[in-house]
């Protein structure tokens, strides 16, 4: 046998390969489906399980929101504190006995009282002309 004969023989063998039987094909497919990863098991489930839900954000109460709103509109908490102090001082002055406020008014330059009559002839409104 020469090389040409061998090449012809190899060519004939190549054209007629040993066939895979139907039984083998079925067994391989069965293995494939049994070993196949499930479509639903694609990586998302473990990622979701690993992420903890964020804690709920607590909404501030009414008074807290009112204070924050006023403070922001009036220029900040320092201004709000000054206004509150002035309001308290005004309330105290209104309720207090006037005589007890001499310490507050004694030092003022217009402490001496002067009578001023704005409508000296008030009777003119009562007199028919």
């Amino acid at each position: 046998m020469n090389e040409s004969d061998l090449d012809r023989l190899l060519g004939a063998a190549r054209a007629n390969p040993p066939a895979a039987g139907a039984g083998l094909m079925a067994r391989v497919l069965e293995d494939a489906l049994a070993a196949q990863p499930r479509a639903a098991a694609v990586p998302q489930a473990p990622v979701q399980a690993a992420v903890r839900p964020a804690p709920p954000v607590r909404r501030p109460g009414f008074w807290a929101r009112l204070g924050a709103g006023l403070g922001a509109s009036l220029g900040g908490s320092g201004v709000l504190t000054g206004l509150g102090g002035a309001a308290l001082l005004g309330l105290a002055a209104g309720y207090a006995d006037p005589t007890s406020l001499g310490w507050l008014t004694d030092g003022l330059p217009f402490s001496t009282s002067t009578q001023l009559e704005l409508l000296p002839t008030a009777e003119i409104f009562l007199t028919e002309g």
Binding site: M1, N2, E3, D5, L6, D7, L9, L10, A12, A13, R14, N16, P17, P18, A19, A20, G21, G23, L24, M25, R27, V28, L29, D31, A32, L33, A35, Q36, P37, R38, A39, A40, A41, V42
Partner: protein
């Protein structure tokens, strides 16, 4: 994915679809790869039952490797040829190569009967003689000759399958062919090459 689309899809893309749980990809890969795996295993082992076991085992390893398969790293067919080569080599060593090439006589029969029954018989005899001569080759020569001349791989592809250089592949196939010619030369007339 439709069947005709599957047929136009590469092995690597089908394996990626398989790993994502697409059952049609499992069927397409089975139909595409098992005939080649089976033919190669049968030619190395010369025994149909053992070849089927090896083919099933090689494919099972592919299914298990699918989720971690990295695209572009290895050609699937090359990887499968390598797995089959290793599995067949293990079996040949275990059985001491006794009684090889009995079952291939049937597989070598041409599936489509021609007009001349005598010619068919002669063809069957030639295949049986070739299988016997292949079985007598050293393992590495047989692997190289089968991959080159029966599976149609290029020398660089064979080098990758066998883990050797291209020059070593050329040497193995050349020595293998010379050994086949020497083995079959005594039967030249019987095989119809005398005239």
């Amino acid at each position: 994915m439709p069947r005709d689309t599957m047929s136009a899809t590469s092995d690597e893309a089908l394996l990626a679809l398989y790993a994502r749980g697409e059952p049609a990809a499992a069927r397409a890969l089975t139909q595409r790869l098992v005939p080649r795996v089976m033919a190669y295993a049968a030619r190395l082992l010369g025994d149909r039952a053992e070849a089927e076991d090896v083919a099933q085992e090689a494919m099972l390893r592919l299914w298990r490797a699918a989720p971690g398969w990295r695209a572009g790293e290895a050609k699937i067919s090359t990887w499968l040829y390598r797995v089959v080569t290793n599995l067949a080599t293990d079996r040949l060593r275990r059985r001491g190569r006794r009684g090889a090439h009995v079952g291939l006589d049937e597989a070598a029969e041409p599936p489509d009967p021609g007009p001349d029954a005598v010619a068919q018989l002669a063809e069957g005899d030639r295949m049986a003689a070739l299988n016997g001569a292949l079985a007598a080759l050293p393992d590495r020569q047989r692997e190289a000759v089968v991959l080159r001349h029966l599976e149609g791989l290029s020398n660089p592809e064979i080098a990758e399958v066998m883990g050797i250089g291209v020059e070593a592949v050329e040497s193995l196939t050349a020595r293998g062919k010379r050994a086949l010619m020497a083995s079959l030369s005594g039967r030249r007339d019987d095989l119809g090459y005398g005239e």
